[in-house]
């Protein structure tokens, strides 16, 4: 097993210097997700303004993969259109389910392509997806309160 493939520089960088961390106001949807096998947790808020994701803020504990993934996600979805953010999520989820067969499109996924190696480690895929699960759930909650997509 090639560890460098899993723990790419860019992943370690996001892990050590997470972007957009901390919980902020305002927000319309909040989600709390846990990974019961390892105890990783994330609380994530979304602030939707019209058709855009105006902010994503989060507080999490977890391994390098789950923390780095939340940080990379923040960069991908903040200020993106809600539809585009959901498309990125679908693309990232597909990459994670590729069992090492996909490389990911750097044009759209940017730093998230560094997680391609994670897809070879089935035990770690959940870690990489935890933040995205929280994002999706928070968006649903936000739209339930009337914010977000009209």
């Amino acid at each position: 097993m090639n560890l460098d493939e899993l723990y790419q520089e860019v992943i370690l960088d996001h892990y050590k210097r997470p972007r957009g961390a901390g919980l902020r106001e305002p927000f319309e949807g909040e989600s709390h997700q846990v990974n019961p096998t390892c105890g990783d947790e994330i609380t994530l808020r979304v602030h939707v303004d019209g058709d855009r994701v105006a902010d994503v803020s989060y507080d999490n504990v977890g391994c390098s993969i789950s923390k780095a993934s939340a940080s990379v996600m923040y960069e991908l979805v903040k200020d993106a259109k809600v539809d585009d953010a959901l498309a990125r999520m679908a693309e990232f989820t597909e990459l994670m389910n590729s069992r090492g067969q996909a490389e990911g499109d750097e044009e759209t996924l940017e730093d998230a392509v560094a997680f391609a190696g994670v897809s070879k480690y089935p035990m770690r895929v959940k870690c990489a997806l935890l933040g995205w699960m929280a994002f999706k759930d928070a968006l649903v909650r936000a739209s339930a309160t009337g914010a977000g997509r009209q």
């Binding site: 899993l6 723990y7 096998t37 390892c38 977890g62 390098s64 993969i65």
Partner: protein
């Protein structure tokens, strides 16, 4: 190197083909026996021989295979009973695992509570108390917690000291006259602590409560004699003691088993049946509804034979020496903090630790790349994690086939972990 060990570890290793495996080009160092142990060829061969030669259902066929299968199954029960010093094989109930064994007892309480004719010792209601400890595996916490929620009884627990020992000073306060049952862990799966039992069992007797042990991590590693322990029931499982998965055991005093309503009902556990009513068979059959894991029982017995051959006193001596080495070497790793007793006294060869703020998942991943298998996470003991203010730990656990060299490799690899995440 294994000077103080009473076991010929190299000879033992030759019985475990999986230990020859390479992981990522490196020899496997299996330090996860507290999760599940590996199985020697003797166990696998016994199961194969039974399956190839004698397989049939038990207790219902008059043909030769049926008789052989019944004999093998009941012979396994007798072996397991003798292994734990049970006065009679009929006091051993085969279950799926320790979790089912404990649920069997908890559900006996629940079923008795709603049966007017049941033994009052098993009836629970508001005002009654059930006692566990803060260092339980979820298997010996959640069945009791849920039982209390359903019956209105109160769940209480004995706390843990900073050193990772049970707070025995609180025992008299926690176990009161209201207590109906005390169920506590013999050897803790996260902390590695071997709990002294006499004070708790004495107090339980004093207040008239039943008392039992989750012996999942003790029966595989130290000599256990149920008569000496003076408890009413113990739960343990085959797969942590060199046997197959799918079978575990509940031992309980004959008189207790007689008084307990069955948990699962159906085939094989009856005396007479009409459309309206059923009378139950005597224990252990009363608690073994349905076709049991027969080949697994044969494997379980072969595992017991294997451990008997090694001698449980020798196994204990080996592990005592082993954990001394583990603790000594692990303490040399910068930033490593042991969660649990730091001295090799009153503890098993299971050591949990944190490594600075590197998440155990990451620790486990780097170790795996070196061929070292450890367990990471909360080890089904979340309240213990909370008690020590950690989300998860890395846990290395040794058994009869582990060598000092494997600990040396672990220590070296932990140095690697720090480099990656610095």
């Amino acid at each position: 190197m294994e000077a103080a060990s009473k076991l010929d570890v190299e000879a033992i290793r030759a019985d475990f083909p999986i230990l020859q495996r390479k992981i990522g080009g490196r020899p496997l160092a299996y330090l996860d026996s507290a999760a599940t142990s590996q199985k020697p060829v003797q166990v696998v061969e016994a199961m194969r021989r039974f399956t190839d030669h004698s397989n049939a259902n038990i207790s219902r066929s008059v043909h030769t295979l049926g008789a052989e299968a019944t004999e093998a199954y009941e012979g396994a029960r007798a072996k397991v009973a003798a292994f734990i010093g049970a006065p009679s094989p009929d006091e051993v109930v085969f279950t799926k695992n320790s979790t089912e064994s404990i649920n069997l007892v908890a559900y006996a309480f629940q079923n008795a509570t709603i049966d007017p004719a049941a033994d009052p010792r098993f009836k629970l209601g508001p005002g009654d108390e059930v006692v566990v400890t803060e260092m339980e595996h979820h298997a010996n916490l959640i069945p009791w917690q849920q039982l209390c929620l359903r019956t209105g009884a109160t769940l209480k627990w004995i706390g843990i000291t900073d050193a990772g020992r049970l707070d025995v000073e609180s025992v008299d306060d926690v176990i009161t006259e209201r207590c109906k049952v005390v169920s506590f862990v013999h050897v803790a799966n996260l902390l590695g602590t071997v709990n002294p039992t006499s004070q708790i069992t004495a107090r339980a007797r004093e207040v008239g409560a039943l008392v039992g042990l989750d012996a999942s991590q003790s029966v595989p590693h130290i000599p256990v004699d149920v008569t000496e322990l003076g408890v009413d029931f113990i739960a343990f499982t085959s797969h942590k003691m060199l046997g197959p998965t799918g079978i575990g055991a509940l031992w309980a005093k004959a008189e207790i088993l007689d008084a307990m309503p069955p948990f699962l009902t159906g085939g094989s556990m009856i005396e007479t049946v009409s459309m309206e009513r059923t009378t139950f068979a005597k224990a252990p059959a009363k608690f073994e509804a349905g076709t049991p894991p027969i080949a697994e029982a044969v494997g379980f017995a072969a595992a017991v034979d294997y451990l008997d051959e090694l001698g449980m006193e020798n196994v204990r001596a080996h592990e005592k020496e082993y954990v001394s080495y583990m603790l000594e070497r692990l303490e040399t790793v910068d930033g490593l903090q042991i969660v649990g007793p730091r001295v090799p006294i009153g503890r098993g060869a299971t050591v949990s630790f944190t490594l600075e703020d590197v998440h155990p998942h990451d620790v486990g991943q780097v170790l795996d790349a070196e061929g070292i298998a450890v367990r990471v996470g909360h080890h089904c003991a979340k309240p213990t994690c909370v008690r020590f203010g950690v989300n998860a730990t890395t846990r290395a656990s040794g058994y009869v086939y582990n060598t000092h060299e494997e600990i040396d490799r672990l220590v070296d690899a932990l140095g690697q972990v720090r480099k990656v995440f610095r």
